[in-house]
């Protein structure tokens, strides 16, 4: 009997395979909250965090990054709760975001229960299995215009022209282009900020090209790059060519 309840199995890692698997960290967290019979709006975070960490160790879930991330999140919330609250008015309960996610997850689980019931009901009926082979499956005529095809190309292009969040897309840097752009700006202005230079740059490779271009021009002595304070904007000033050669 003990082997089926996760609690009874703690300390005996070999039973892990017999335990109900969790579909994710939120599932595990919700299970703990139910087991401990605590209020979801007032989670005793220290206790739940400890339970959570213990459970992922017992279940050998510590391989899964998602569970570790949640464990870290719980510990961070615990620490935040220990810190003095400071300004009462501005204080926001660090558990709030977690509560929101748990409620959202719980709502989804309700839909899962419903789908499970409906799916099970449907599984208890068979559809017609024998289907006569039709000589040539007649097809409805196709409605398709060239405009639709070109619009589809557009959609594909718009999608591939921006790097995907999860993929590292190698892209050629355009340093000479950036150098031209910087020279053009400095020809008109005595002083420019880095933020001005990269406002038009929408993608990382453009920003990188601009940075490399700036460094290159600085090395050539065409301009000076200055940052007055850490994290402040970078100032770019063209060096007077004559002054530069005098100094040299």
């Amino acid at each position: 009997m003990d082997a089926v309840t996760p609690r009874g199995a703690s300390g005996t890692g070999t039973f892990a395979v017999d335990l109900p698997q969790f579909s994710g960290p939120l599932d595990l967290l919700l299970t703990l909250i139910r087991e401990e019979q605590v209020d979801i709006y007032d989670i005793p975070i220290a206790r739940i965090a400890q339970q959570f960490v213990e459970r992922i160790r017992t279940l050998e879930l510590n391989e899964a990054a998602e569970y570790l991330e949640m464990a870290a999140r719980l510990l961070r919330i615990k620490v935040q709760l220990l810190l003095p609250a400071g300004e009462q008015e501005l204080w926001e309960d660090p558990r709030a975001e977690l509560v929101r996610r748990l409620l959202e997850y719980q709502q989804m689980r309700e839909v899962v229960d419903l789908l499970e019931r409906r799916g099970e009901e449907r599984r208890s009926h068979f559809a017609r299995a024998y289907l006569p082979t039709q000589p040539v499956p007649p097809q409805a005529p196709l409605a398709l215009s060239l405009v639709e095809l070109l619009t589809a190309v557009d959609r594909v292009l718009r999608a591939v022209s921006r790097p995907d969040m999860h993929d590292v897309v190698p892209r050629a840097l355009d340093v000479p282009g950036a150098i031209d752009a910087i020279r053009a700006v400095l020809a008109l202005r005595a002083r420019a900020l880095l933020s001005d230079m990269i406002t038009g740059a929408r993608e990382p490779w453009q920003v990188l090209s601009m940075l490399l271009g700036l460094l290159e021009l600085a090395k050539l002595g065409e301009l000076r790059v200055q940052q007055l304070r850490p994290f402040s904007n970078v100032e770019i000033t063209p060096t007077d060519r004559d002054a530069a050669s005098e100094a040299a």
Partner: protein
């Protein structure tokens, strides 16, 4: 049975999937929609009243003949047909989220479930339960997913509206502002 009801029965028997009302109407263009509706009723009642091993169900915007649940066990025991596999918990959770939030991107689903879902999404797509329905506006213009008619068939739903509205669920999600603790 009327000739139209017989024709409907033949067409429904010839298909493993629900046939939409429009497709049924195309079977006999001379008959009115009212005549079609009453022939469908006639067939359903015939199966119910006369006592048949099959029944007529309204699914995915159409109609499908299915065996009655009481015979499933005997048929499976005699190995004349077998039930499809159940979906995994992960697949069901992902489907539930897509059904309620469609169109939705992979990242948004992962945010709600708290786990990566690459494999699940692929297998749901392969089973025809979900499809790409467009692209989102965000970074990288992510693919947006939605449910398909096969999803409705799998759960014997007439249409998506048959699922309870989000605010009808027992745990209605509070607005974020209300969820904060004070």
């Amino acid at each position: 049975m009327t000739p139209l009801a017989k024709l409907l029965e033949a067409a429904l028997f010839a298909s493993a999937r629900p046939i939409t009302t429009e497709e049924l109407a195309a079977l006999s263009p001379d008959d009115s929609l009212a005549a079609l509706a009453s022939a469908i009723d006639e067939l359903r009642e015939h199966y119910d009243v006369d006592g048949h091993g099959v029944e007529l169900q309204e699914i995915a915007g159409g109609w499908q003949i299915l065996t009655r649940a009481e015979y499933t066990e005997a048929i499976e025991r005699a190995q004349l047909a077998s039930r499809p596999q159940r979906l995994s918990a992960a697949a069901l959770e992902t489907l539930a989220i897509i059904a309620y939030r469609q169109p939705i991107s992979r990242a948004e689903i992962e945010e709600i479930r708290g786990v990566g879902i690459g494999g699940v999404l692929k297998s749901l797509h392969e089973r025809g339960l979900i499809d790409v329905v467009g692209r989102g506006e965000g970074l990288g213009r992510p693919l947006m997913y939605g449910t398909t008619p096969v999803f409705l068939e799998h759960f014997a739903l007439r249409h998506l509206e048959e699922l309870p509205r989000a605010d009808e669920l027992a745990i209605a999600l509070r607005a974020p502002a209300q969820a904060t603790l004070d």
